[in-house]
């Protein structure tokens, strides 16, 4: 609650006002301490002293709050600037990574296409002296299955 109070009120009222209030409270305490020695002002001595202490403490409280808030605001500004810079760097790194990945994918696709074209070209040579047994296909397909998938485990 007091943090809220400081942050919201301090944003409107300048620091010198709080300093003046604190000083006025302090000066008032001693001033009224002397003034209230006059007999007809004597009954007001204690209430005035308490009021001065409250004013002095209130002013000091807000002075401190103003200083702390100023420091915090500067730190927040700095932190936000760092975060913005980091986000920009992160975005830039992601763009570079995406670009590299795209280039690699292109190279891979071209390479596999070339290999498959070569297989098509060499079809007659490949099939001429080789006949694949059904068991070989079955075993190869078994090897290609993910053993962690439920439908694969028997």
């Amino acid at each position: 609650m007091f943090g809220w109070l400081v942050e919201h009120i301090i944003g409107i009222v300048p620091f010198w006002v709080w300093l003046t209030v604190a000083c006025a409270g302090g000066v008032g305490y001693f001033f009224f301490g002397i003034i209230t020695m006059i007999p007809f002002l004597m009954p007001y001595r204690e209430p005035i002293k308490i009021a001065c202490i409250v004013i002095c403490l209130g002013g000091t409280f807000m002075c401190g709050g103003d200083g702390v808030t100023t420091i915090w605001q500067a730190q927040i500004k700095e932190a936000n600037a760092q975060i913005e810079a980091a986000e920009a760097k992160s975005k830039d790194a992601n763009n570079k990574l995406a670009q590299v990945r795209q280039e690699k994918a292109k190279v891979r696709t071209e390479y596999i296409t070339t290999v498959k074209e070569r297989i098509v070209k060499d079809t007659q040579i490949i099939d001429a002296e080789c006949k694949v047994a059904p068991e070989a296909i079955k075993d190869l397909n078994e090897a290609a299955k993910n053993p962690l998938k439920k439908d694969v485990i028997k």
Binding site: F2, G3, V6, E7, L57, T60, F61, M62, G64, G65, V68, T69, W72, Q75, I76, A79, N80, Q82, I83, A86, E87, K89, S90, K91, A93, N94, L97, A98, V100, R101, K104, A105, R108, T109, Y111, I112, V115, K116, I119, V120, D122, T123, I126, D127, C130, K131, V132, A133, P134, I137, L140, N141, A144, K145, N146, K149
Partner: protein, 87 residues
């Protein structure tokens, strides 16, 4: 004395503050979020020329997935470095 402690505590609360800084979790290139598919199965055949393209595709698939894993490692290291520099 009790009053003094109470007043001091009250005055010190002025030093308390909340810092409204929100850091966004870094994004990832969308293609890195695609799950690796299962390996392709070879159709029933006795021709090696029909087997080889599937094997070649599976090899290609492996390298695609390897690249994704490598990219995740690269992404993590880069983002960690950027994050660690924020102090």
């Amino acid at each position: 004395m009790k009053r003094l402690i109470l007043i001091t505590a009250l005055v010190i609360t002025g030093c308390a503050s909340t810092v409204p800084i929100i850091e966004k979790f870094p994004d990832v290139p969308k293609d890195m979020l695609i799950v690796c598919p299962d390996l392709a199965q070879i159709p029933e055949t006795n021709k090696l020329s029909e087997v080889l393209p599937v094997v070649a595709d599976n090899y290609g698939q492996y390298y695609t997935c390897k690249d994704t894993v490598d990219s995740w490692i690269d992404w993590y290291n880069t983002q960690k470095k950027i994050f660690d520099n924020i102090k």
